[in-house]
Assembly symmetry: C2
């Protein structure tokens, strides 16, 4: 039987990214029972740290035990009842995903589309909200499939004044780019662990406010196996047990009403990952992401590569590159992984085979990795016969690294 063989990699995809060494250490700890006070205090601390990372004073801030889309589904299926109107502006793959999740939850979904590589003018979204009067607007903050970030503040304020709930997928940006849950009037936000947080995939930290809590409270249902007497189910109960936020709330509250068995070691990792983030400082962390993105893009452009998408809406955490004519994108990616141990990503749907995506997220977002990916990509492109400006990429990045003060890495 094969033991685990984990080769060393330089991971420069838009997630999962390299895990912070302190997080890996945290995950090798011994087990604690789920109701052991030593563990429930870790749960409480994790909630407080999620609040800080999401810049919110919301009471409810906890992870769902599943990958990021589990968090999106938990919020959507807890809010949506059959026939509810949901508006989803789509500017990449993850808008489609949110629309699909809403539709499967029984919503009547209204879609808006922006060309992949661009985002929406908030005013267009606001006009559509006024036209449709949906119960919920679902938006992606950063869509990694196109490398774009959608401004949300004006949309959030319009939703608040129109009494519409705004649910945001911030998986690609949380703790990597500024995200002000409360100031932007976002009612529910879902983050991911495996991107800027540099914790392995498997938890979806989220937060929601009392507007959301009020809506889902009407659908509350307690499991028959937990009560002494027979009780009638709530006819409006949420169609998922696992994703029922009213049950998850009870589990994460002082009453600790039994639901699932918390994923202890993932919580250890999240707890430590959030501590690393908060020790660095949110502003400092956002600056660090911008700084290395600058070095990366300077290098790529110096190499003669063309960045994909509207520069005005570029994510600092993801850089998309148009694959040069005549080059097989997947072949270059495979070569880069096999020969250099460096991983970058392709994209989805209409962009499949047309762009590469390089992530600069969390612990992967550091000078050594940026220089490695630039030099590895250059060498791989030269080997594949592409016309690149030889030797320029690292020099352009080093111009930034030697001349600008570098934010320290937590």
């Amino acid at each position: 039987m094969q033991g685990l063989h984990i080769p060393q990699r330089t991971i420069m995809t838009p997630g999962p990214v390299e895990v912070h060494p302190r997080v890996r250490q945290a995950m090798s700890n011994r087990m604690l029972g789920q109701f052991d006070p030593a563990f429930t205090s870790i749960m409480d601390e994790t909630m407080e740290r999620i609040r800080q990372a999401f810049q919110t004073k919301n009471k409810w801030a906890f992870p769902v035990d599943g990958t990021s889309r589990a968090g999106i589904e938990a919020v959507m299926c807890s809010l949506i009842e059959p026939g509810d109107k949901v508006l989803i502006p789509i500017f990449g793959r993850f808008g489609h995903l949110m629309a699909e999740i809403a539709e499967r939850s029984g919503a009547e979904v209204f879609r808006m589309h922006a060309e992949w590589g661009t985002v929406f003018d908030p005013e267009d979204v606001i006009a559509e909200i006024k036209k449709i009067s949906p119960k919920i607007v679902g938006m992606i903050h950063g869509d990694t499939s196109t490398g774009r970030v959608q401004p949300l503040e004006a949309i959030g304020k319009a939703c608040r004044s129109e009494d519409v709930l705004l649910v945001v997928d911030a998986v690609a940006t949380i703790t990597g780019m500024d995200f002000k849950t409360d100031d932007w009037c976002i009612d529910a936000v879902i983050g991911g662990t495996q991107k800027c947080l540099s914790v392995p995939s498997g938890l979806a930290p989220l937060t929601y406010n009392d507007r959301v809590e009020k809506v889902i409270a009407e659908r509350k249902n307690i499991e028959q196996g937990l009560v002494q007497r027979e009780r009638k189910p709530n006819p409006r109960r949420i169609h998922s047990n696992y994703f029922d936020l009213t049950q998850l709330q009870d589990y994460w509250s002082e009453s600790r009403l039994n639901h699932h068995t918390e994923a202890t070691h993932m919580i250890y990792g999240l707890h430590e990952g959030l501590q690393v983030v908060l020790e660095e400082g949110l502003e400092e962390r956002f600056n660090r992401h911008r700084y290395h993105e600058q070095a990366l893009t300077a290098g790529l452009e110096a190499m003669g590569l063309k960045l994909f998408g509207d520069p005005a809406s570029k994510l600092t955490t993801v850089t998309c590159i148009t694959i040069p004519e005549g080059i097989d994108g997947d072949q270059v990616r495979d070569f880069l992984l096999q020969q250099f141990g460096i991983e970058i990503a392709s994209s989805f749907g209409p962009l499949q085979g047309k762009i590469w995506r390089i992530g600069t997220m969390g612990y992967s977002c550091r000078q050594g990795n940026v220089l490695q990916v630039l030099m590895g990509l250059e060498a791989s492109l030269i080997y594949a016969g592409a016309a690149v400006h030889k030797g320029e990429a690292a020099r352009a990045a080093l111009d930034i690294y030697t001349k600008q003060i570098q934010p320290s890495l937590a």
Copy 2:
């Protein structure tokens, strides 16, 4: 800010139990990308090991990224369409849970009840199957809430001949007690990681056969964001995206169609945990669980405590004890945790406050732990003023430990 503080515990609950040291080590490894061949080969090996642990030749054997109930919900919601008849025989809390999950998925649920502490005569279940002709029968193999195990072979064979699908929750028994997926004609089985496998909670390994695959294949739906052209959704698509087994199948197949981002480090843990199990050997492992259960129950009875439930259907992995008259069960449990660092469990619903539950599962199922829990419980009971036979518990357990050959611990 608080760093992680993980005190040493002796965990003797029915899960989560102590994690095998090799598993903790495995989980501290570096990240690998989800489509890195070094990782996909770990995924393939994990599938093969799940097959072996579940004693099946099924093609599909993979974990759902969530806790055990996530696996149950994935199977149920992928199979159930509105109005489908589902029969759930309930003999403890987890039967209620399965019924609730089925009902939330839109099934017409038929319940049978056995008194908590007993299980069903298979003939009674078979008669009910013939009467109701359900599409699915959902059964719990071992219900930890009452410490009972339900014989399944006759029910499985009857379901096969009646062309009914049999879905089994084997969370409490898998790799701790014999479970023959194929020989017993079980169509879908869900296991848990945090019990006999001694891996942290957070994955639900499951397997299902081609009878299940055929039913869910009709509901297949591919995400819009993954395809080049607009396509109409399948009107029968599964109401959950996260739990859609047809999508999970594609992700775990050679096509590796993108769905979620696999929980890499949990997979590292599961891969290693299954290796530990298979190196020990399934039979040897079942024997070890029986051996330590014998020592535990001998000790408890020598102390003068009364075991709860029908001995004929007792789980070897869970021992239930009637809380002696006049003793506050929760106070004793808290005392045991605070003073000795030993954790045992209470129970749910009608048994809350009436029984304690002691688990002997996986890595926690070893001589040192059994002796510790016996001595700690005795001392705590004496301290609480209970009338116990002093000094008899350890002696009775040691009679077994010194006189019978002990299976070695992997």
